[in-house]
């Protein structure tokens, strides 16, 4: 799964927003969300919260974190770290690259923190 795929143009995802990508698109086993952090960076995490069942794409991006829409567990967008309860497991990251205004995702390749 090392082939990067083009997922969107930079202007397609506003700052503080996320794009949810289904497995059919990425070839990964789980949905992945690409976030445009408020620090300007683009990051990708497994979309499903590690606590129960919720889509992180519906969460609130704050700085370089995303807060789950269900019980407010927060994850670091950069390294997937679970920052507070109720989540105790980190979210899986995927590498994102921005080249010539296009966003490329490497599904299954961890982001280097």
């Amino acid at each position: 799964m090392s082939e990067p795929i083009r997922v969107a143009a930079v202007e397609d995802i506003d700052e503080g927003e996320a794009l949810l990508l289904q497995p059919e698109v990425t070839g990964a086993s789980e949905p992945i969300s690409v976030f445009h952090g408020e620090d300007g960076g683009f990051y990708a995490l497994d979309d499903e919260c590690t606590h129960e069942t919720a889509s992180l794409a519906d969460g609130l991006v704050d700085g370089d974190t995303v807060e789950c829409p269900k019980h407010s567990a927060a994850f670091c967008l950069k390294d997937g770290r679970a920052l507070c309860l109720p989540a105790t497991r980190d979210a899986r990251t995927h590498r994102v690259e921005v080249r010539d205004g296009e966003i490329y995702l490497h599904p299954g390749v961890p982001a280097q923190a």
Binding site: G16, E52, D58, G59, L60, D62, E67, P69, K70, H71, S72, C84, L85, P86, T88
Partner: protein
């Protein structure tokens, strides 16, 4: 005196949060967690997924048992029977006496059993139940299913959740509450109405009355219980679940001579009236630095934040630290009939309420004070609104009422505007 050892009494979310904070903050002393229920688990699923049978015990534990050993937390399953503040001695009901430099009370609360004639007898007989622990949830779950009839007494958060989960299992449910609608103080009248009306729409029979008496009912009704209401009517049921609130477990603190006033009184670092003892979670009652006693919080997030804050205060006592954590506005969630409810701040504080409709129904209610700052927010299936409101509250942002009411104005925009 330096702090080299901490004992936490109680393994609910608050007690677990203390331990987690200490280890995340590299506290290098000994940490002991004494928990009558063993490996800490989370309570909210007990009225939701766990009661419905869609999740199991392992999934609702904060961390597996090994985590405690890996993080050098001595997890002791047992009941503390007394604490001696001056010496730091903690006595186990059937076991040794331990000692620590600091003791944290995280003893939570027990479900309240109202003094209604017959309730105690039927509770002893196992037909009137309450819901606070895993064992309680197992007992209740065993009495749900098609053909069974459940009376839920109390239409607040837990009562409503149980009614919803039970109805989902095919149980016939009657929900009894003298107030119509309940929860106005927590979410405002508009959302309270909408939430309460969901019960009838999902096949739950709602009775607006108070329970006057409970008696064994086999002979009269063919059901174990015959519940008399104060409007003269009756409800027959196999089981009654009482959800009328909780009573903080303060007995240990009273016996230890700590200041207790409807909860163990703590300062903003969650320290009690004795410098060796802290208290966190549902059992604690905050007195802010201006001397005012605050209402006791009974929600998950307060439990976790207070536990984290006490952990931080202990770290500060043990060495240099980053300083106290801010106290956040109270936040809670609840789930019923497939919708997710959240609220933050106060919907009852002086001010006015502005509602935002989504698909023609009131979905978000904002409480705004006379300076046009948001002081509370409640939302049905719109948790993003609550996430934003919480930041508006924390930052004291002045808002425009028309923007709050207009569903076409993205809420995030209000947060980012300055």
């Amino acid at each position: 005196m330096s702090v080299e050892s901490v004992i936490v009494v109680g393994g609910g979310p608050a007690g677990f949060a203390v331990v987690q904070r200490l280890r995340r903050g590299f506290f290098d002393g000994t940490v002991t967690l004494i928990a009558s229920e063993g490996v800490p688990y989370d309570r909210p699923p007990l009225s939701k997924e766990y009661l419905a049978g869609t999740t199991d015990v392992e999934a609702i534990r904060f961390e597996p048992a090994e985590w405690f050993a890996e993080h050098e937390v001595d997890l002791v399953t047992g009941d503390v029977s007394s604490v001696e503040p001056d010496t730091g001695e903690v006595r186990l009901a059937d076991g040794p006496t331990l000692r620590a430099d600091r003791v944290v009370f995280a003893t939570g609360g027990a479900a309240a059993l109202p003094p209604i004639p017959g309730v105690e007898q039927s509770h002893d007989a196992g037909t009137v139940l309450t819901l606070r622990s895993l064992d309680d949830a197992d007992a209740l779950r065993a009495r749900l299913g098609p053909g069974r009839r459940l009376a839920v007494v109390g239409g607040g958060l837990i009562g409503a959740e149980v009614a919803s989960t039970a109805a989902g299992t095919g149980t016939e449910v009657v929900l009894i509450d003298p107030v119509d609608p309940p929860l106005v103080a927590a979410v405002g009248p508009e959302l309270a109405r909408r939430l309460h009306d969901m019960h009838a729409a999902h096949g739950v029979e709602v009775r607006t009355a108070a329970v006057a008496q409970v008696e064994a009912g086999e002979e009269a009704t063919g059901r174990a219980l015959r519940i008399h209401l104060d409007d003269g009517s009756e409800v027959a049921a196999d089981t009654a679940l009482i959800g009328v609130g909780m009573v903080p477990r303060t007995a240990l603190a009273v016996a230890a001579g700590l200041e207790v006033d409807g909860g163990i009184v703590v300062d903003e670092t969650f320290r009690t009236s004795h410098q060796r003892i802290y208290a966190v979670g549902d059992v604690a009652r905050l007195r802010t630095d201006d001397g005012e006693l605050q209402p006791r919080a009974e929600h998950w997030e307060h439990a976790v934040l207070s536990g984290g804050a006490a952990g931080a205060a202990l770290l500060a006592e043990a060495g240099p630290s980053a300083g106290p954590e801010p106290i956040e506005s109270p936040w809670f969630w609840s789930d019923r009939h497939g919708v997710h409810l959240e609220a933050v701040g106060s919907m009852a504080a002086p001010g006015r309420t502005i509602t935002r409709e989504i698909d023609g129904a009131p979905a978000v209610a904002f409480r705004v004070d006379e300076t046009s700052r948001v002081i509370g927010c409640a939302a049905i299936d719109a948790s993003q609104a609550v996430r934003v409101a919480r930041r508006l509250i924390a930052r004291g942002t002045v808002v425009d009422a028309d923007d709050l009411a207009d569903p076409d104005v993205p809420l995030k925009q209000l947060m980012r505007r300055r």
